[in-house]
Symmetry: C2
Subunit: 131 residues, 2 copies
C-alpha cells in the first residue's frame, strides 16, 4: 500500500485521535473500506464470494468496546459512533499503518463480528500513534 | 495482494469469461470493491475523503463500451450488465491480475467515470486471460 499513500497526502494532517474520530468525510470513505473488508472476510469464511454491509449499531458497539468512546465528545448518536469507527479504520489504512489483508485477517480470526471489529479498531488505534 | 489470494482460492475455478460475467455472487462482492475503488479515486481527485457509489446504469454502459456485452447471454437487464462489470473487476483483483492501486489510477486518469470504468474493464479482461 505504500505507493498508494501519495494519492492521499491530504489525510495525513490529523493531530489527534479525536480529530480522526469526528471527521465525517473520512467516515464516508471509511464506510466503503469497512464494507469491503467485511465482505472479503465473510467470503473467505463462507468459501464463496458475498457482499455484506456492516450495520451502524455493530460499529458503534465495537467502538465502545475498543475504549474509543472516551476520545469523543459527549452526546453522540449511535450513527456518529459508527462514523468514528469507519473514519479511524480507513485512516489507519491510508496512512500505511495497517494493510487491507491485515484488516480482513483480524475479522476472520473472530467468530463474532463485534469482537472482530473491536480488535480491528484497537489495532488501528495503536498503529496510528495518536492520542 | 499476492498473499491475499490464498484466502480466495475458491474463485480461481472460472474457465470462461462468460462464467465470470454471469456469477452473481462474485458481483455481490464486486459491488463493495468497485465502490471503494471509485470512492478512493474521487477522494484523490477532490483532495478530500469521500464515499461514492457507482450507479448500475454507468457500469452497464461501461461494460458495453468495453466490448464485453457479446460475452453474455442475450436478453440481459441493465442490472445484470452492471453485475457483470462488478464481477469481472473483483475477479481480476482477487486473482492478482490487477492491484487496487492500478484500479484507482485507471479511474483517476479519466475525466469521465464511464470511460474510466471502460478502461478498467478492458484492462481486467486482458489481465484475466479468459475467453
Amino acid at each position: 500500500m505504500k505507493s498508494f499513500s501519495r494519492l492521499f497526502t491530504f489525510m495525513k494532517s490529523h493531530s489527534s485521535l479525536t480529530n480522526v474520530l469526528t471527521d465525517h468525510k473520512l467516515a464516508s470513505l471509511g464506510d466503503a473500506y469497512v464494507n469491503l473488508v467485511y465482505s472479503l472476510a465473510f467470503s473467505a469464511k463462507m468459501g464463496e464470494p458475498s457482499g455484506k454491509k456492516v450495520k451502524g449499531t455493530v460499529l458503534a458497539e465495537a467502538l465502545r468496546k475498543a475504549g474509543l468512546r472516551q476520545h469523543m465528545p459527549s452526546r453522540m448518536t449511535s450513527h456518529k459512533l459508527a462514523d468514528a469507527a469507519e473514519a479511524l479504520t480507513v485512516y489507519a489504512w491510508l496512512n500505511d499503518c495497517i494493510t487491507l489483508e491485515q484488516s480482513v485477517t483480524i475479522l476472520l480470526k473472530s467468530d463474532d463480528l463485534i469482537n472482530g471489529l473491536t480488535q480491528l479498531l484497537m489495532k488501528a488505534k495503536e498503529a496510528v500513534r495518536l492520542s
